[in-house]
């Protein structure tokens, strides 16, 4: 009777424990060719004041920004963004922030600043005071779009897009490689953003067995090409 009980216990443990507990790995490889786009930080205020061109300057443009999001993938890495407040300008005008991301507001002036954070659809804004020559961190724990308004210069606004995912990979010019070794089996969605606009979306499944899945893309002139499946973005 005693040996029978030991047998049942061993059998139960064998049934309850998985055969393999290791997660799958995905390898991302994106060849990115950044183009130029209109500078989103460019202030374009039609305030009615008189002005006349004095110096001829080229149109101000900046490189495109691309980001890769994997929805449903929960990473332990926290991502912070830093927004400097100098004069009447935030250093960044648009922020793509992962869920639970933190923005650090850095006041470069010698007087206190006050910023107002207003979530889209909400009526109650949150006011954050930033002391002179100091920084304040503000976490964003709910997905959605936020407007951050300078209390002194009301036209100075940052738009923050807080994603449902907490994984954001910012692409650079050239070949970008990223290995995600600890992705658990399940269904995921890979999204590519240009700035704060989504330009590509692809769903994929990670199987329970230990294997490596490769994702190879090419981004050029605002278009995304999946080199594995030869599918292109709709953009």
């Amino acid at each position: 009777m005693k040996n029978f009980s030991k047998f049942l216990l061993v059998c139960s443990l064998l049934i309850l424990c998985p055969v393999s507990v290791s997660a799958a790995m995905i390898k991302l490889e994106i060849d990115c060719k950044l183009g130029e786009e209109k500078n989103e930080n460019r202030l374009d205020i039609k305030d009615g004041y008189w002005n006349f061109p004095f110096v001829k300057v080229p149109k101000n443009k900046e490189n495109e920004h691309y980001s890769v999001i994997i929805e449903s993938y929960d990473t332990k890495e926290a991502k912070n963004e830093k927004v400097e407040i100098a004069g009447a300008e935030f250093s960044i005008k648009n922020v793509l922030l992962p869920l639970n991301g933190v923005i650090t507001f850095d006041n470069k002036e010698n007087f206190p600043r006050q910023i107002t954070i207003l979530a889209e659809g909400e009526s109650e804004p949150v006011t954050v005071a930033v002391p002179p020559k100091s920084s304040v961190q503000q976490p964003f724990i709910a997905a959605g779009t936020y407007k951050i308004i300078d209390g002194m210069f009301s036209w100075n606004i940052v738009t923050v897009n807080v994603l449902a995912s907490n994984y954001v990979w910012t692409l650079k010019e050239g070949r970008n490689r990223k290995d995600i070794p600890d992705i658990a089996p399940g269904s995921y969605t890979l999204k590519i953003y240009r700035g704060t606009s989504r330009i590509y979306s692809e769903a994929f499944t990670v199987v329970q067995i230990q294997n490596v899945q490769n994702f190879t893309y090419k981004i050029e002139k605002g278009k995304v090409v999946n080199l594995d499946a030869l599918s292109t973005s709709m953009d």
Binding site: D47, Y49, N51, P53, N60, A86, G87
Partner: protein, 481 residues
């Protein structure tokens, strides 16, 4: 009279008010606001000009300012990212994001603008500077406050949003507050700040508002409210209205007072004239110079009437002197052939002198009226003889009032009859008989002589008198001018 004056005052007030309102048809208040706007714009342009002047002086090498600029105005030089590189005035470490600075650094344009940090508001003029292929900017500052508003020639209030931040002409504003009401004025100001335009505070005082350019993304609006008084110094409409009413009432009272004085005086003069007329005897005239204020016209007219009456009587007398004479004439047939002694004897015309009429003592008021009696005291036969009217009761009145006495030329007091009676009396005195037939001839002779004497001596009248000489009556004539 009072009603007329009141009506005229009211009409004058309304006309004047209407006139003032019509002045506003020329958009006076609106033009004043435009003038203020232009003054402000001009100020901003001067700031841009100053920035260019500084840009001309400085030298930038490798991102650093190596040559300083002299400027009486506050200025700052900023790099391409808006950070301050140099200058004599620093509000912020960076002017990035200020629209005028952005236009200079990103577009290479010079422009004006404004910004505020906390309670301070600054007007700025920004000029771009190209050095080493990079854009820099020079910013000139002017703090927005009471000093800046001194450029405006009229009372001005400046609002940032709904908050008043500067004012010019405080005394005038306060007087309007006292007159118009502080709460009313504040309510009108709030409406103007919100929607602009102009508002009539009272008939003569208006306020107009214009907003300075501001960012359309929601920046605070700077509103300038100007006050225009169509009549300088008449901002206190209520006080002016009170004063106008007060002065009108005073004017009416003064007019009433003088009206009373004048009417009283006229009444007094007319009463006196009536009194003098009541004391006049037939043939008397009033002395013109003793009357005024319209009574002199009446006296003149009366004297003329009397003169005409006398002349008429004389003319009538020459034909039919009296009913009695007419009866005699009818009964006696032609009397003109009767022998009549020469009443003038040996030329009895007195030497002519330019002398005034002889003043004769006139009978008293109680003296018998209208009738001339030959028997009583010898009357003076002056035809037109001014005489001092005696009045025992009132000597003062006698001094003022002179009545020109004349023998009444009526049927009863015909001077020729009197003369004839005197002539007869002397005749009878010496036992000579006189027939009534001689009378017509006598009077005709006297008339003829009178006419000839008047023509000869160019006088206006002739006084006749009868004197006794050697027991015979002699008629003497005296020319009167």
């Amino acid at each position: 009279m009072a009603v007329v004056i009141t009506a005229l005052s009211a009409a004058n007030f309304l006309l004047f008010k209407d006139f003032i309102v019509k002045i506003d048809v020329q958009d006076g208040a609106k033009n004043i606001a435009k003038l203020a706007e232009s003054e402000l714009k001009s100020k901003n342009y001067s700031l841009i000009g100053n920035s260019f002047e500084i840009a001309r002086q400085i030298k930038i090498e490798k991102g650093k300012v190596t040559s300083k600029a002299n400027s009486e105005k506050d200025y700052a030089i900023v790099g391409g990212n808006g950070a301050v590189l140099d200058g004599n005035f620093k509000v912020m470490n960076s002017y990035a994001g200020i629209p005028a600075v952005e236009r200079a650094l990103k577009d290479g344009s010079a422009s004006d603008g404004m910004f505020s940090t906390g309670s301070d508001l600054y007007l700025i003029g920004v000029a771009p500077v190209l050095a080493d292929g990079k854009l820099f900017a020079v910013i000139t500052f002017e703090k927005f406050g009471d000093d800046l508003l001194s450029v405006f020639p009229m009372p001005v209030r400046a609002f940032r949003g709904s908050e008043q931040i500067a004012e010019k002409g405080g005394d005038t504003w306060h007087s309007v507050e006292n007159s118009y009401g502080k709460d009313n004025l504040n309510a009108d100001m709030a409406a103007l700040v919100t929607s602009g335009g102009q508002k009539e505070l009272n008939a003569w005082t208006r306020v107009s508002a214009f907003a300075m350019p501001y960012d359309l993304a929601g920046g605070e609006k700077i509103t300038i409210v100007t006050m225009t008084s169509l009549i300088p110094g008449w901002e206190s409409y209520s006080k002016v209205r009170f004063n106008v009413i007060l002065y009108s009432v005073i004017a009416i009272l003064v007019a009433l007072f003088f009206t009373f004085i004048v009417t009283h005086e006229i009444d007094k003069i007319l009463k006196k004239l009536a009194s003098d007329i009541s004391r006049m005897r037939v043939g008397e005239k009033l002395v013109l110079k003793k009357y005024s204020n319209g009574a002199d016209i009446v006296v003149s007219a009366m004297n003329k009437l009397i003169q005409q009456y006398l002349e008429l009587s004389e003319d009538v007398g020459s034909i039919t002197s009296s009913p009695l004479l007419r009866a005699e004439k009818n009964k006696g047939g032609d009397d003109f052939d009767a022998a009549v002694p020469d009443p003038f004897g040996t030329g009895s015309v007195e030497e002519i002198k330019a002398e005034k009429p002889v003043h004769a003592e006139m009978p008293k008021k109680e003296a018998p009226k209208q009738e001339v009696k030959p028997e009583p005291a010898k009357p003076d036969l002056s035809h037109t003889m001014p005489a001092q009217l005696e009045d025992d009761d009132d000597d003062e009145d006698n001094e003022k009032t002179q009545i020109a006495a004349t023998v009444a030329p009526s049927v009863q007091a015909n001077p020729f009859d009197v003369l004839w009676e005197e002539y007869c009396r002397i005749k009878r005195k010496h036992g000579e008989s006189v027939s009534e037939k001689e009378k017509t001839a006598f009077i005709g002779k006297v008339r003829t002589n009178k006419a000839s004497i008047m023509a000869k001596y160019k006088c206006s009248d002739v006084q006749f008198s009868v004197e006794e000489k050697d027991g015979k009556p002699v008629v003497k004539a005296k020319p009167v001018n």
